[in-house]
Symmetry: C2
Subunit: 264 residues, 2 copies
Amino acid sequence: MNTRTLAADQPIGVFDSGMGGLTVLRALRAAMPREHFVYLGDTARLPYGTKTAATVQRYALQAAGRLVTLGVKAIVVACNTASATALPAVQAQFPDVSVFGVVEPGAAAAAEHGGTVALLATESTVRGGAYQRALMRRGVQKVQARAAPLLVALAEEPSAAPHIQAAIIGDYLSGLMHSADTLLLGCTHFPVFVQQIELQLAGRAVVVDSATTTAAEVAASIVPRAHEDRGEITLLATDGAERFRRVGARFLGEPIHRVELVDV
Amino acid sequence: MNTRTLAADQPIGVFDSGMGGLTVLRALRAAMPREHFVYLGDTARLPYGTKTAATVQRYALQAAGRLVTLGVKAIVVACNTASATALPAVQAQFPDVSVFGVVEPGAAAAAEHGGTVALLATESTVRGGAYQRALMRRGVQKVQARAAPLLVALAEEPSAAPHIQAAIIGDYLSGLMHSADTLLLGCTHFPVFVQQIELQLAGRAVVVDSATTTAAEVAASIVPRAHEDRGEITLLATDGAERFRRVGARFLGEPIHRVELVDV
């Protein structure tokens, strides 16, 4: 077994401000079932979406650095806010590791459907404009962007009454969807609402997110693991392992048995 | 001027996870207009209410330590979550400074009205049980506690539609208020909703919070400043000075002109 094969057997690192990125991990596993994954959720400092670019960059570099010490062969910045504001900084800091974000793949998915794109994201992602620029570069003529901070809190509170969910989602959509053809979910927390969103849209627009296109991009770029068995996932969090298990299962789409606490 | 007078002229330090504690600062200033105040909002790591006790304690000790280096004569832990989980740790770490929390004064305010008390607070505050114990010690026979995490996000998004606010508040109240006589707002973010809450309660219960009773307790304990002019406030935040100015004015009840960024 040569060095290249050994490196290929290393896990793919994924990080997020908290649990939302588990929707991306789910898509990554579906696309690459034989790969090992290490997921780091920075739950001690979430959310990133209301913080400034400078602070998000600092946090992202610390999280990526932690994954690098674990020997990952690639890093997926699963957090939209961190992808939108810190991807170049992470790539510059760790030039020997392939670093993937979710903004470009998300923009590609939305541009494929064409027409006017409505973007629902965090305050920080909307303000930074990375999605808007990525969409424009792909020929999208018109982008309507709206920050939806309540949706992040809502996604992390599964106990909220259904009519509250419907009212909040309806409020954000009503401001956006008069003329949009495609709704881009620009925050990894939002795919958990896709059924409710599609119900309210009633076919007026197509809903896309970054998870599937990101997974395809990563799968096409990495040197695959050299074994046939199903890969393992390791889940790390900077705070609240119990809450991570309980709430995170909603994002990962399967029960979570074990979460290790780490410092970054 | 002797040492005692010099010490008396030092500011009172106030800290919170973010901007919610400005509702306490507002009450402190009303009670002690001649005092100087230094307010530190740990906006880079907010919210505290979904984090574990160990993490909240670590953050609270760092914030209090920062205030101590600024020479404060007293510290008010304006964050309910930090008061409920970290007050003894802060007091033990800084024995030479008077440290006040908001849980005991809040419980005293609620107990004064008697009857069954409904508590609306963060996940962490409810789970820790400090309010429930403080109320029981004061002879309250029955406490209904409910975590209201969406209200924290809602308080920080002034742009949310009025009907969304009403629906979220109504949902939390409906689970609590069947038999309660007093509603205790156990999170410094919640007083901004007091009008909407009282509208929905329609006189069925009295609404109390910690701010006024905390201010009275601090005013009764400190050595007052020896000058007659109005004291100054200094506002520090660990992230997002612009957002702090914009959203914080809602909590402070007056425009905010200047916020300094600091590390803790």
